[in-house]
């Protein structure tokens, strides 16, 4: 039985958080019937339908394995819930190249109360693209941000993947642990995009964490970034720096031109979906990536992703 996308969209608009699981089941499905319903869902939560951009704060949380992302996320969700904000976590895990299957482990590290409908956690496999987003994650983030106060997309990696997260998220936080020189080198070399917030974990390590924080701040200044907050946190009891991090994330959101970032996100998403469907050959038929984006810029800023994909397909 295919889900009813329009009805699900209505539930999200009404703030019905219990719709989240059904929304994910729908947007992850690749059957033609479900994809049609996904389009209906996204139309039902488009800026036009909502009368503005979705209220939720979409946050990308990314960093290398072992940096302490999951423990931090556990503390963050606890703190957000304590402030009365509803939270949806979309955890993206790498898949096994060989079998296509994956072990989705992040959920295990986030403590949750099963009776609390204000916290939703969904793990998804990244699919073939290592370090990238699961195909459904963009759609899920767009839909859920209509109902949840915070939508977190958690991905693995440092270097390439946060570029992709950056296309979806309002705010990107990169997590690094002290003593790992990679982030520093990537920043200086310009391999890594400058994150909106940089988080140094394991602040309980004391001097090492302080030094890492100082080095990263210096590196950021050297590449000309003044706005990026560097926050040191510790997830070990008693947790430290969590409130400061939440304030930094809020502060970035406060400065942000949300509609502009969201329009960009939808256009980038439409282009990505188009490429999944029609490949590089289809893109060339449109005159390349730049031309395709130019074409999308002529559309209504409030247009949803499926509508934008249709626009591109009409040019073929």
């Amino acid at each position: 039985m295919a889900a009813d996308g329009t009805a699900l969209g209505r539930r999200l608009r009404d703030g019905d958080l219990s719709a989240a699981a059904a929304v994910l089941n729908l947007v992850e499905s690749r059957t033609p019937a479900d994809r049609e319903q996904t389009s209906a869902l996204l139309a039902a939560v488009s800026p036009a339908a909502l009368g503005g951009e979705a209220k939720g704060h979409v946050i990308g949380l990314t960093g290398p394995p072992g940096a302490g992302k999951s423990s931090l996320l556990s503390e963050l969700t606890r703190a957000w819930r304590a402030r009365g904000r509803s939270v949806a976590v979309l955890a993206v895990d790498p898949s096994s190249k060989r079998s296509g299957g994956s072990l989705l482990g992040d959920r295990a590290r986030i403590s949750f109360d099963p009776e609390d409908r204000g916290l939703f956690i969904r793990s998804t496999a990244a699919g073939e693209r290592l370090g990238g987003l699961a195909p459904a994650t963009r759609a899920a983030a767009q839909a859920l941000s209509a109902a949840f106060d915070v939508v977190v997309i958690e991905t693995v990696g440092v270097g390439q993947s946060e570029t992709e997260v950056g296309e979806v998220a309002d705010t990107v936080a990169v997590i690094v642990q002290p003593g790992s020189g990679d982030a520093l080198q990537f920043l200086k070399a310009g391999i890594m995009e400058i994150p909106d917030v940089l988080v140094v974990t394991k602040a309980d390590l004391g001097d090492i964490a302080l030094r890492a924080r100082r080095d990263l701040s210096a590196a950021l200044r050297s590449v000309g970034s003044r706005d990026t907050h560097v926050v040191a946190v510790s997830s070990i009891s008693p947790p430290q720096g969590i409130d400061e991090l939440i304030d930094a994330l809020d502060e970035h959101r406060g400065r942000l031109d949300v509609p502009a970032r969201r329009v960009e996100a939808r256009r980038a998403g439409a282009l990505a979906d188009f490429v999944v469907e029609h490949g590089e050959r289809g893109l060339r038929a449109l005159g390349g990536r730049r031309a395709a984006l130019k074409r999308l810029e002529r559309e209504d800023p409030g247009a949803d992703v499926p509508a934008l994909v249709t626009t591109l397909e009409a040019e073929l």
Binding site: E28, G101, L103, R107, S237
Partner: protein
């Protein structure tokens, strides 16, 4: 010394059992606590459901401890307590009961298992994060060395590592690394001139498998490494302190559910591994019962295990000779080989920053070794008589209508819930509050935890209250599952490839990749089965959600709904399936999740029909060793469930 590991139902019932075992010639006590007591929950806690009095005796406060030890001469008794995360608490209760009976703590003899690293790696009854857990252990060692000098405060366990799949080399290396972590922590808390005494009080609890020649070599190797460690790392010189002392429970992992009578000869051979050569002979032996893989052993089954030891000790000539392997080239060669492997592996652990920091590494290595063991059995490379070879059998006359196991009356749990509530209502609450406040203060300081813990025991604090106070101070912790890093490659590659195609095909119909939730409800920490199912499901192309042990039915149901899984696999080995599985199914249905549920674990035959009635689609037990076949069933089950609806 001969013991049987015992305790069940209630403190009073267990007390009767102990007295009767002592009358039969047993020379010490070995207390088995139930899982709520081991993990720090009172009988009326949600997580305790189905587990009260199951695998051991519930002890919720000093009143229970008084009942448990009633009439037993504590001044003369040597008592082994299998207790880890809450060891400081149970020792405090033991000291309290002794003192309230006029026995001085200095007279007490016995052992608290108190090895937390193996709980993270294998057994699962941890309560606090690694750092604070090590501090509790170090506090206990520092306290007992002066106040309860005849007590063995810790028993480094390699037993459970083998149960989790460790090879002999891993068993030696991880146990020694673990001991180093403990001794290093203690060294910071006692005077250097006490280190010899501390070293001499550390004993080991090892395993012995059916490959008994190699197993004997393993024990000789451990003795050599231990002495070396004492001399070189801790500057111990007294030969008495340097002796490798160990107790043993022989292997349960190798015991089979099919043709369980064969387990008797396995147990005898394993007992030889730890007794054959005098230079590496165990000081205390516990033998498992022949029917452990079926369920809880009855008193008669345990009597049989005790009689095995008595025949070995009193009828054979085993104990009449000096070390019979002295000068054996074969034995020395085996020992050298194990020493070399163990030293190399200890180096790897040291490079990870020691045993505490290397928990993730060791856990995934164990999951890998166990996967390899299962692969060998599946492929017939390792023969297990009655399981993958010589499987034809006449019906066993040993199995009666009740399935040849002991069942615990579910009334016990209800009674214990009420009893602990009554205890709380009946005590001096102001004294309890003050004791807990003091405990909280000490937990946050550098002071030794034992003083405040004993004061809390005397004030009538409960097990759950003591643990909750420390959980609040130290933080909650979830151990690594070890599956994320596990290497691929289980069953035959052809079978896996064809199953992968099938998973792809069914996933196509489902619209998204087939997704399974592997859940471990309740307090049972035996996660081998769940881990192996999770890894194999990934290897055939499923998306797998596995959250580790100790989940409530409500948590499992919430995860299943939020994750949108197509099938749910539940694993229980502790005997609480009759309560917990129907609870999980009810919680799932309440959330509108209609995915099929399968169950694996130690499930007696008689319980299969009621589980199916409750809505379980399939039940797997230890005799179902072919993981690929189980996977094929699961894929077919999902296809069938969704086949009718996938086309709409």
């Amino acid at each position: 010394m001969m013991r049987t590991y015992a305790g069940h139902s209630t403190a009073k019932k267990s007390n009767e059992l102990y007295r009767s075992n002592l009358a039969k010639g047993q020379t010490g006590l070995s207390i088995a606590f139930d899982l709520p007591t081991q993990t720090g929950y009172d009988p009326d806690d949600e997580l305790a459901r189905g587990e009260v009095g199951k695998v051991g005796v519930p002890v919720a406060h000093k009143g229970d401890m008084h009942a448990l030890l009633d009439g037993i001469p504590l001044g003369e008794m040597n008592t082994s307590m299998t207790i880890n995360a809450t060891a400081a608490w149970l020792l405090a209760l033991y000291i309290t009961v002794a003192e309230e009976n006029g026995v001085d703590a200095a007279q007490l003899q016995g052992t608290t298992q108190n090895d937390i690293i193996k709980e993270f790696l294998a057994r699962g009854t941890y309560a606090f994060p690694p750092g604070p857990s090590m501090r509790l252990i170090a506090d206990m060692v520092a306290y007992t060395v002066t106040e309860v000098p005849k007590w063995n405060p810790i028993n480094i366990c390699s037993y459970h590592l083998q149960e989790a799949g460790a090879t002999p080399v891993q068993e030696i290396a991880y146990a020694m690394s673990n001991a180093i972590a403990v001794l290093d922590a203690v060294r910071e808390r006692v005077d250097q001139d006490l280190m010899g005494k501390v070293f001499g009080r550390i004993s080991f609890f090892v395993n012995a498998g059916v490959r008994f020649v190699e197993e004997h070599a393993k024990l000789r190797a451990m003795g050599i490494l231990w002495e070396e460690l004492g001399r070189e790392r801790y500057g111990v010189t007294d030969p008495k302190h340097l002796r490798f002392r160990y107790g043993v429970q022989v292997n349960s992992l190798g015991l089979t559910e099919s043709q369980p009578e064969n387990n008797v000869q396995r147990i005898v051979l394993e007992a030889l591994a730890v007794t054959l050569g005098r230079d590496a002979r165990a000081r205390a032996i516990q033998l498992p019962a022949w029917n452990e893989a079926l369920g809880l052993p009855r008193p008669w089954d345990q009597q049989w295990s005790l009689r095995i030891q008595q025949v070995l000790a009193y009828e054979t000539d085993l104990l009449e000779y000096p070390d019979i392997f002295e000068g054996s080239k074969v034995m020395d060669g085996l020992v050298d080989e194990l020493l070399e492997g163990a030293r190399a592996e200890m180096k790897v652990v040291a490079e990870h920053g020691g045993a505490v920091k290397a928990v993730d590494y060791m856990k995934s290595s164990l999951v890998d070794s166990h996967r390899e063991r299962i692969r060998r059995i599946e492929h017939g490379e390792q023969i297990v008589v009655g399981l993958n070879k010589y499987t034809e059998s006449n019906p066993s006359p040993l199995i009666d209508e009740e399935g040849g196991i002991m069942t615990v009356d579910p009334e016990v749990e209800i009674q214990q819930r009420e009893a602990v509530a009554a205890w709380r209502a009946d005590r001096d609450q102001a004294a309890v509050d003050a004791a807990l406040e003091e405990l909280r203060r000490v937990a946050g300081s550098e002071e030794n935890i034992m003083g405040a813990t004993i004061a809390a025991a005397k004030a009538g604090v409960t097990t759950g209250e003591w643990s909750r106070t420390l959980r609040e101070a130290f933080g909650e912790f979830r151990a690594p599952t070890g599956v994320g890093e596990a290497a691929a490659g289980g069953g035959a590659e052809d079978d896996l490839a064809s199953l992968r195609d099938e998973v792809d095909r069914v996933s196509e119909g489902l619209g998204r990749r087939m997704k399974i939730l592997v859940g471990k409800p309740g307090l049972d920490g035996h996660s081998n089965g769940a881990e192996q199912i999770a890894v194999r499901a990934r290897d055939i192309g499923m998306d797998v959600v596995y959250e580790g042990i100790r989940m409530t039915p409500a948590q499992i149901a919430a995860s299943a709904e939020q994750e949108g899984v197509h099938v749910i696999g539940l694993s229980i080995l502790s005997g609480s399936h009759r309560e917990l599985i129907p609870d999980v199914i009810a919680a799932l249905r309440e959330r509108g999740v209609d995915a099929p549920v399968i169950v694996g674990g130690i499930i007696p035959e008689a319980d299969v029909a009621p589980l199916k009635q409750a809505g379980v689609s399939a039940v797997y037990t230890p005799k179902d060793f072919d993981l690929t076949a189980i996977m094929r069933d699961i894929v077919a089950l999902v296809a069938e469930r969704h086949g009718a609806t996938a086309s709409a």
